[in-house]
Amino acid sequence: MTSDTTPVERPREEITSGFPEAGAPRFESIDAVRTGLADVQYLADDGISGVVFLADRLAKPVLVEGPAGTGKTELAKSVARLTGSRLIRLQCYEGLDESKALYEWNYKKQLLRIQADSGQSWQELEDDIFSEEFLLTRPLLEAIKSTEPVVLLIDEVDRVELETEALLLEILSEYQVSIPELGTVRATQIPLVFLTSNNTRELSEALKRRCLYLHIDYPQMERERAIIETRVPGISQALADQVARIVRSIRSLDLKKAPSVSETLDWARTLVVLGVESIDAEQAKDTLHILLKYRSDIDRAAKELAGLDTTG
């Protein structure tokens, strides 16, 4: 990746000039973030709302870590909904490279242009085929070029190789993309950037340094109950309470995979659909497979919770 000091001797160097100005702050206060998120059905705790607020004020990306299914991706989506921004999502995977994350030249179109000879000199032709018209923007460049407000979600950033991480560094700290043939594209507005990670590997120091760090863990019992009540329509308070309690008890067991928030919600929805008013041991046993995905975990939980034997 080239830095922005690469000599670029072309007339149109900068697509948009000027350093990105921090726009008007999106949020008034931390409480505003929290209530705003609650309006779009995302219940944030102190940590989450504080960090989102700060990300906006400091114009820094947020690195969100935590167990699967605790609402990391959902947070980015909710913030987008809250601020009325467009959500641009880059799903990371092994083998992701520049041409899929940043930009790519449209070779076919360039080839066509060259073949459709219009009597231009080579110099003119070269200028022409390396212009914006022949550039295919990929999510990162897209987020930078966008003139409307944008929330950029870089999902599961721990899946890319260590080397590919470097691709992100320029965009995360300077909000700009350098294209050797074209110049530097700077953001007209500063997007809110969320990176999520499931912590399958240690991210590089360089990346972490540029981000605010937010760890989202399984919620407290009270918050989980509130989440169930907002996200599952038609659930009674008593049932939500019971679900939250059972899930907390299950999480305290030593399981291979503790139930995530999304699994909890699925479970609550199932119970509502089944028309359950109050969970008894039998029903819990029959529906545990929604909450837990390993046979041994299910057996364990059933046994621990109610002295039941699922094998029988």
């Binding site: 399958t200 605010l212 002295g307």
Partner: protein, 497 residues
């Protein structure tokens, strides 16, 4: 404020959390945007720029509590009446009154709390836990510390001592039993409606309900414990100042905990961080293997492909290196003193067993037994490790470590199976209870195996003191490695593969 922040960052660094200069600057910038009177917000936003790993969070939290303790909100909130949130019907009478009294007794030596008898305090504690009113729990914590911790100004003991004293006097286990008994009787006698939790028609509590209640109370008791801990900390800060205190109660990061001397809580933390650690290690090793694939020129293949270009070798072909996967034999001492260390190592080695062509495990105390089978077909090493403790046949005479006998038996029974591809890991503190060392076995092993490593969970300074004979074994090992913490263990295993 900036001075305070600098001191705080210094403390974080001293605790082992890497804080770079830019992160420090970010933190300073943070303070401009966040209202200073909102302590929770400050805590989380500062944390967002200073702490970049969830395992470091507890250490950060402790440091934060110390450095910003006196700026906490005033705890004498006049609470609302408690009778609204009845999880239990019984707590309605009289619970609000002692709660009120407790809160007034908040300042040291102040008001109502001073004259309370232990019985009253116990009663109050019981009610506070029953009603789960946070203000009341706090008041009780404060009272309990007042009464039981026996804190004296300037005494150079850590907070854990006071904590222990307070908790011992409160006897939380008994309180727990009382709470459960209470709930049980409430369920059987109380048939009145309007009580949402026990609206179940059965008279007695079902096992499920009882379990849930127990967990609920456990959570409340944990809350109380935390409250007491921070109360003690607050007072210590007031007494000694933050810098001095920070030094004395600094919490090590999980990867730096000394495995041999870990407390129960620390062991839990260790076990939790072991799973992600081994997963990360496996990913890293797999990546390392795939990486840098160019081997030496494959002349035959190059010529074969050159046929299509008329014999001109346009496209050189390279041999893919096939890094040989070592075969591992782990021989672990699982006697009391080093058991947890052996467990962690076995767990880690098996978690990344795909990186080795074969892993065989043996455990011993004074007898030795093969436990490889326990790990086969089990997708969770923790389970297998658990089985080892209960099922392996490792006691020969008296259940005290006898390295000499164990090694001799190993050599007689399995010595033949060591090949030049095998790496042998021996785990233990080599505290041999003055038995014969059997060091000749190590010498024989060394002659036959590729490498012999000894991992010793004791600090280097203790080696060869008392009945430790690690020096004798060290003569024949490739290397004796000090492995006191997960970090050291991870590094060693990473290099091995």
């Amino acid at each position: 404020m900036l001075d305070l922040l600098t001191g705080f960052v210094g403390e974080l660094r001293a605790a082992g959390i890497p804080v770079s200069l830019t992160e420090h600057l970010d933190a300073a910038e943070t303070l401009r945007h966040v209202p200073l009177e909102d302590r929770e917000a400050i805590k989380y936003t500062l944390g967002a720029s200073l702490v970049k790993s969830s395992t470091h969070w507890p250490a950060y939290e402790t440091a934060f509590e110390i450095y910003f303790s006196m700026r906490g909100p005033d705890y004498s909130i006049t609470g609302e009446d408690e009778d609204g949130d009845g999880t239990e019907p019984e707590d309605q009478e009289g619970s609000s009154q002692p709660g009120q009294g407790g809160r007034q007794g908040k300042g040291r030596g102040g008001g109502g709390g001073e004259g309370m008898t232990p019985e009253e305090l116990a009663d109050m504690l019981f009610k506070a836990l029953l009603s789960a009113n946070p203000a009341m729990v706090q008041a009780v914590a404060r009272q309990a510390v007042d009464r039981y911790a026996g804190m004296e100004a300037g005494r150079p003991v850590g907070g854990t001592y006071y904590l222990y004293r307070t908790l011992r006097n409160l006897d939380l286990d008994k309180v727990m039993d009382r709470l459960v008994a209470q709930a049980r009787s409430a369920a059987s006698t109380h048939i009145e409606e309007g009580d949402q939790e026990h609206a179940s028609p059965d008279v007695a509590l079902t096992p499920l309900e009882e379990r849930l209640l127990r967990d609920e109370y456990q959570a409340r008791i944990d809350q109380l414990r935390k409250e007491i801990e921070s109360e003690i900390r607050r007072r210590l800060v007031a007494d000694r100042g933050s810098e001095a205190l920070a030094k004395s109660i600094r919490k090590p990061l999980p990867e730096d905990i000394d495995v041999m001397h870990a407390t129960r809580d620390e062991l839990v933390a260790l076990r939790k961080s072991l799973a992600p650690l081994s997963r990360k290690l496996a990913v890293r090793l797999a990546r390392k293997r795939r990486h840098g694939r160019k081997g030496p020129l494959d002349f035959r293949s190059t010529m074969r492909h050159a046929l299509s270009t008329g014999g001109v070798p346009m496209d050189p072909k390279f041999r893919y290196p096939r890094p040989s996967k070592p075969e591992i034999i782990v021989i672990a001492d699982i006697s009391g003193s080093v058991a947890s260390f052996a467990r962690f190592t076995l767990h880690l080695v098996h978690a990344i067993s795909s990186q080795f062509s074969k892993v065989r495990s043996f455990v011993f105390i004074d007898g030795i037994d093969e436990v490889t089978g326990f790990f086969e077909g089990v997708d969770d090493p923790a389970e297998a490790v658990h089985r080892i403790n209960t099922e392996a046949d490792v006691v020969w005479v008296d259940g005290h470590s006898d390295y000499g006998h164990a090694l001799t038996v190993f050599w007689e029974r399995w010595g033949e199976e060591i090949t030049p591809k095998t790496s042998i890991l021996l785990l233990g503190d080599a505290r041999n209870n003055y038995h014969a060392t059997g060091a000749w076995v190590i010498k024989e092993m060394k002659a036959r195996a590729r490498h012999v490593y000894w991992l010793n969970p004791e600090p280097r300074a203790y080696w060869d003191s008392g009945d430790s004979v690690v020096g004798e074994y060290a003569n024949y090992c490739d290397e004796v490695v000090e492995c006191r913490t997960l970090r050291q263990l991870e590094r060693f295993v990473g290099e091995l593969a």
